[in-house]
Symmetry: C2
Subunit: 339 residues, 2 copies
């Protein structure tokens, strides 16, 4: 009875809701006992992540970072989920291109549409990220924000990956889900910063990653507002507004978040500028590259890949001492369904 009374008082006056150094320490002890990263093998990579988080959350450390500045940004394709044999958003777009093809006879001779209609994935991959975004934007416009959201949600429930034979949402990396959660437990604000379409991601990744819509940043098409006689809609227009890749990542981070990240995670040269921007933080920062080295469980690719090319980024990571995940040796499991 007495304890219940104390709990009520504490709830009422809000003790326990304010984050304090003591409180953080208690959380840390708690998570260390549990192993916050159970799908990661013991080794340099896991140790480096845990040592960094410990140092910047220790209140009396010179490396301490206030909670408000614990911004962590994660690339999506090839970093939180797979991106082979093509970006998953492309498989969504393919269904739409095929459905719309009768109204667009010119697509038969026009890339990247030609490749889609001929099921020529190799030719499609050669169109690069820009070609892909062209395709995506062309097939994602002409409807309202709500209609598009519904389309994506229907697709993710039913569509199956061409070689893995599971729905695409099963192809998220279990170790990265643990990393996201570990950072949030330590009061990082986790963001997705992806070259993928922001509205495509927002339609379903919140539940999977535990990241709310407003912390998902991506490429976007232009939109228009229509009051529509009291039932306003936002119309999706067939024009690219912003490609959230390469230089676009730090620019979008500054525009939308307004703070430099302290933790950045990516897997390709498209993430390099985000890494460089993060590395220039006056707080201690952590740059994490995922190297796809596991042809058996996932895919192996880097310097010569049409998708997720990692070349300059790997060089700078080596030169500047950034942390590089070796997927094959650092991860106990890649996907949760392996367990």
């Amino acid at each position: 009875m007495k304890n219940a009374y104390v709990i009520l008082i504490l709830l009422f006056i809000g003790i326990g809701c304010e984050k304090t150094a003591d409180n953080e320490k208690a959380n840390k002890v708690d998570t260390e006992i549990q192993d916050p990263l159970p799908s990661w093998n013991e080794g340099q990579t896991k140790s480096a992540i845990i040592a960094y988080v410990a140092s910047i959350t220790t209140a009396d450390s010179p490396d301490y970072i206030p909670i408000k500045d614990r911004i962590a940004t994660f690339d999506n394709d090839g970093n939180l989920w797979s991106e082979q044999p093509a970006y998953f958003q492309l498989f969504f777009a393919i269904d739409r291109v095929k459905a719309m093809a009768a109204d667009h006879p010119e697509w038969k001779n026009e890339q990247p549409f030609k490749a889609v209609l001929e099921n020529d994935m190799e030719a499609l991959a050669k169109q690069g990220e820009h070609g892909l975004l062209q395709l995506v934007m062309a097939t994602h416009a002409g409807n309202t924000a709500e209609e598009f959201r519904t389309d994506v949600q229907e697709w993710i429930k039913t569509a199956v990956h061409p070689t893995k034979n599971v729905t695409y949402d099963k192809l998220v990396y279990q170790p990265m889900l643990e990393l996201l959660e570990y950072l949030r437990t330590n009061d990082f604000k986790t963001y997705v910063v992806s070259g993928g379409g922001v509205d495509f991601m927002r339609a379903f990744v919140t539940e999977i990653y535990g990241i709310p819509e407003e912390q998902i940043i991506g490429s976007r098409i232009k939109t228009g507002f229509d009051y529509n006689e009291g039932s306003p809609v936002i119309k999706r227009l067939p024009e690219i507004e912003f490609i959230d890749d390469k230089d676009g990542k730090p620019l979008n981070i500054q525009k939308i978040i307004g703070k430099k990240p302290v933790f950045a995670s990516g897997n390709s040269d498209g993430d390099l500028q985000m890494m460089q921007w993060t590395a220039s933080n006056t707080y201690p920062s952590f740059m994490l590259y995922l190297h796809h080295t596991d042809a058996e469980r996932e895919w192996a690719y880097d310097r010569d890949s049409h998708i997720g090319k990692l070349d300059k980024g790997l060089d700078q990571a080596t030169k500047d001492g950034w942390t590089v995940i070796n997927m094959k040796t650092d991860w106990k499991v890649v996907y949760s369904f392996e367990e």
Copy 2:
């Protein structure tokens, strides 16, 4: 001793950190006893706000809104702080125009620069919001994000309003600060969504409004990333990228937040589309217009004003039963220094 032990246990296991319906009820009782809006006179406006918040935070109410969807958006100029005799960001721009004028002889004959150099505030006001933004963008570019931030922070500490004779940060509305805090106490996520420049606002309003940088949305200029041999900078380019006004407000809300607000607060026709978008939420929503009716303590203006024109918005508020603050009668104090 026993109580201290219980507190430690609670901190350790995290009880009191998770928001629950009980917890919310306790908070509510707490704030109601204290009067969450002490600078608001008793009356229809205050009652409507409190009744709305009570209804959507009551767990067993059909109007209950989950915490993740409690998005509240506030216009800034004329809504959180004054905007007369001209937008305050303009006074910042004026100092820069005068300093840069020697390098721009053409400005002597070119609006809106001509008006600034001639100290002709009336002519300047006639350039409208678009002319103002032109001026702001032209004078805010050519430096880095960090340099600009420092410039604004220096200015806000020293510059004095031409008629009120206080620094500009004193001209925030005390009742609106209380409203922001009241909403946050009830787990709303409060955003600024303003036609003003996002980087101008972010340089200093976080501390005043209690709103972090990433929840401040505004107009923006184009930017460029420069790796700068390992000391990367974001350069501010002299081109407008997006004007966060009128249609731009719901479009930017959808792009950046990705959710429809449930609470929108503004004072001009520039906020009307944000209100309409909010009113179309499937959750119960609250639209709040501030009507400047107090020529003595602040300013009185509406349908014919060059700044903060409120005409169509006032008509729709009346027609659709939105709440309108009568500044003269609803607010006990306007600025905290009156107290």
